[in-house]
Amino acid sequence: MARILLLALGAAALVAGVLGGLARLGLPLDVASGAANHGALMTGGFLGTLISLERAIALGEPAAYAAPLAAGAGAMLLLAGAREAGLWVSLAAPVVLAIVSARLLRRQAQTHIVLLLVAALAWGVGDALNVAGAAPNAVAAWWLAFLVLTIAAERLEMTRLTRRPAAAAPAFHACVGTILAGAAASLAWPVAGGVALGAGLVALAAWLALFDIARRTVGTEGFARYSAAALLAGYAWLAAGGVAWCGLALAGYAWRDAALHALGLGFVFSMILAHAPVVVPIVARRRMRYTPWMYAPLLLLHGSLLVRMAGDAGMPAWRAWGGVLNALAIAAFAATLANALRNRMADGARPTTTAGRPRR
């Protein structure tokens, strides 16, 4: 039950963050605190809650749930207008997540878990910079590093299943190092830092496109194929977002919407669409059946993002339309997910029980 409540906190942050984003695009919505905190709600409030919830379940210790609780509660405080309290409560989440990651590392000393720990620290740096009132691009760079490195860590773990050339591991580390160096430099040297971060993202996209198991599983069927399609489409946006981030550093604000949303929506949300049908049933302790309808929100997400990018490239009206369709894609995915959960329950499947315990 606690898991569902934490999931609900994350979902509330998502809804508020999306509405705030639409208000920023000029839609007549009365959501001042959502609009003011769009980035914090989407990154820490929504994704931070989900990611730390996922890790808490994996660790299986009650104290680990303090991370998603802090992330979700912090987002709610921000929404309620208690900005100062919200930022400080939010900051507790990456601290606990870093401790949880360190404990997982003690259980299994693997590179990808080290990277999860580094990602949690990047989230903490982003939050701390936000508290300190640093430049928005520097905060965004660290938040982005958190999301990208978390996803990269999870995919790196999967690539262990495939045969990789000897150069793959050092190349991966070089990508991660460049991204971190770029984020670190963004505060003092915004241009050099931004270009390094963008280049690191493009390189990581190429690495993932080359070595991820998605290249193989896209040739299978059912959920595995759908998931692989979402992953590969996400990698294309990761590369595009890296280029746009360089544009943001070199040419300025005009590139900001494209950079943040190629990465935040095109890459990160595509990963969510690939991953959520596995994770949400675990969090909700239910079963889910794959349906080809899952492709519909995936296509809508990527199509609507192209519309938005056309807007960014000089057709302002398209940007708002793209944004509305982006929001619809997220809503459609949530509906598809809810329906797949409900279907499976109606089929007579039992809710899952605590791990390791006999069901009957």
Partner: protein, 120 residues
Amino acid sequence: MAEESRGTAPSLSAFDYSGPPGLAPAIAAALRRVVDPEMALNIVDLGLVYGVEIQGRDAQVRITMTSAACPVAEMIIDDVVDELSGVLGEGAKVDCELVWEPPWAPERMSPRARSAMGWD
């Protein structure tokens, strides 16, 4: 390597088994019905099953995961308990333990899984 010796009875040598020999094929078949959703491969082919011990009507299973940070373990354990309960019948006690020693390595994958992931 070990794969060569698996040629004759791949369903049995993929993990340690102790229990009535007659039950082994059904146990292996049940575990093969537990599939990792993202990889489209079952847990036996992935080499995630370390051992199965049957005593009377009860089963003790040891499995591992490729990552300690992944919450899918919970679902896979439930599936294992579910499938083995189906084989052992009503009232059987199935205990599935998640272990991290020895750590999983790609060498544990079956020839079929290795081929699907491009090793051969």
